[in-house]
């Protein structure tokens, strides 16, 4: 198991950890969620295009950015899934791209409603 995987908790979204990370600042939390909501569709699109192109470097860069955002939001499961894509991109293992992307999209699909709910709560 890679070191990065070891520290990514296998949780869709850890609300308590997220609150601790923003020092219980609900305004900041709302800002972060709004940024994510705005950025995520474009970043996902860039990741998909990178996977389609089969360019490992592009996949790694796009996946890295998404991973950073997801880690900041304490979304461990989706972060672990996109980290897998980043590693594949770095090692140039193009054969695994599509499966890893599909796994990430599944995690992201279950994460998004939870983030929306959280945003509504802190609004």
């Amino acid at each position: 198991m890679k070191e990065t995987e070891k520290r990514l908790p296998n949780l869709t979204f850890d609300h308590a950890e997220l609150l601790a990370r923003v020092d219980n600042d609900r305004e900041l939390l709302h800002d972060l969620l709004a940024i994510f909501k705005h950025e995520f569709p474009q970043l996902l699109k860039a990741l998909r295009q990178a996977v389609e192109s089969g360019d490992g470097k592009l996949v790694a860069v796009a996946a890295h950015t998404l991973k950073g955002m997801l880690l900041n939001l304490a979304a461990g499961q989706a972060a672990a899934a996109v980290d897998r894509l980043e590693q594949l991109g770095r090692s140039g293992e193009t054969a695994g791209f599509q499966d890893a992307l599909a796994a990430f999209e599944r995690d992201a699909t279950s994460l998004l409603p939870q983030l929306d709910a959280c945003m509504a709560e802190v609004h």
Binding site: R21, D23, L28, D31, L32, I35, F36, H64, L71, N72
Partner: protein, 322 residues
């Protein structure tokens, strides 16, 4: 304390900025490594930096390398932010010049604690620089008057003379000596004598331009170097200095002390290329002439009369200077 955050990811930037502003930092946030280096490299840039490892234009280690190329400016304490955790990556990051690293996502308390470590290092640097500057000042200045000390004022004179020869302008040397200073010490005490020396230094500094040099040459003897000045100006300046010294007694802990000063003036243009030591001797001879003329006056060292003056008896010279 100012801190720079460099991260291409907007959410991390926002999170870091808010966390650090709450902790009392004055935050500047940029989105790539090139902008970070541009902010950190100038002398007045922030001295604390949090740098994302992976950034467009220039990555975090690249920023560290650019900042470490500077040698004269203050130290910048840099922390790399990374999701890279392998030993190889950490070693590469630290070898690029980073002081520390922090893995993402960061814990706010750990972030603040690590920055406090940085602040301690910067504080230590400030104190070391302050101590070095103090020692440099002590090595170049007279402890009592805070004027340039004898070694430095002669060096400065040498440099000015070389420049004036090169540029065909005149540098003037004023060898100044307080009259009857021994009797000041004898009559008013050494404490009052020190007060007189300090006040004399103040009056000398107030009588010259900001780019002229004033040094304590010996006990009650001062050397003034007037840069790039014509003979008429030098003579007028010497006379003004004499008046400034004599105009009113120096207030001291033992009461007001009346003082006067004798001055020997030498204008380099009249002497051509001569060694510094020789010109100092000639200025000293002019000072001796001023003493012999009754003190509290200015005498000019002229190449024509210098040989006659230099034949004077050394013991008489010393006696008159006291």
């Amino acid at each position: 304390m100012r801190i720079l955050i460099a991260d291409d990811e907007v959410m991390s930037r926002r999170l870091l900025q808010k966390t650090l502003e709450r902790a009392g930092y004055e935050v500047t946030a940029v989105e790539n490594g090139r902008l970070a280096a541009d902010q950190l490299c100038p002398a007045d840039g922030p001295r604390l930096a949090l740098l994302d490892w992976v950034m467009p234009e220039l990555d975090g280690p690249g920023v560290c390398r650019e900042v470490r190329k500077r040698t004269e400016q203050s130290y910048v304490y840099m922390v790399l932010l990374t999701s890279k955790e392998s030993k190889q990556d950490v070693v590469a990051g630290l070898e690029s010049g980073a002081d520390d690293y922090l893995t993402k996502p960061f814990d706010p308390e750990e972030l603040k604690a690590r920055l406090r470590t940085g602040l301690r290092i910067l504080d230590l640097e400030d104190r070391l620089v302050e101590a070095r500057e103090k020692m440099r000042f002590q090595a170049t200045h007279d402890g009592l008057t805070t004027l340039w000390n004898s070694g430095v004022i002669v060096d400065l004179l040498g440099r000015e003379l070389a420049r004036s020869w090169r540029e065909h302008v005149s540098t003037s040397i004023l060898m100044c000596d307080l009259d009857h200073f021994k009797s000041v010490n004898d009559t008013f005490g050494h404490l009052a004598g020190d007060e007189v020396l300090k006040e004399t230094a103040k009056r000398l500094l107030a009588s010259v331009r900001s780019y002229d040099f004033v040094g304590r040459y010996g006990g009650e003897e001062f050397l003034v170097v007037l840069n790039n000045c014509n003979p008429a100006y030098a003579l007028a300046r010497a006379e003004e200095i004499r008046k400034a010294i004599a105009q009113k007694p120096v207030p001291s802990s033992s009461g007001p002390v009346p003082i006067t000063m004798s001055l020997g003036l030498l204008m380099s243009q009249e002497w051509g290329y001569r060694p510094v030591e020789e010109l100092l001797q000639q200025a000293d001879a002019a000072l001796y002439a001023a003493k012999a003329a009754g003190r509290n006056c200015v005498r000019v060292a002229s190449p024509k009369i210098s040989s006659a003056d230099s034949d004077s008896q050394p013991q008489e010279h010393i006696r008159l200077r006291r």
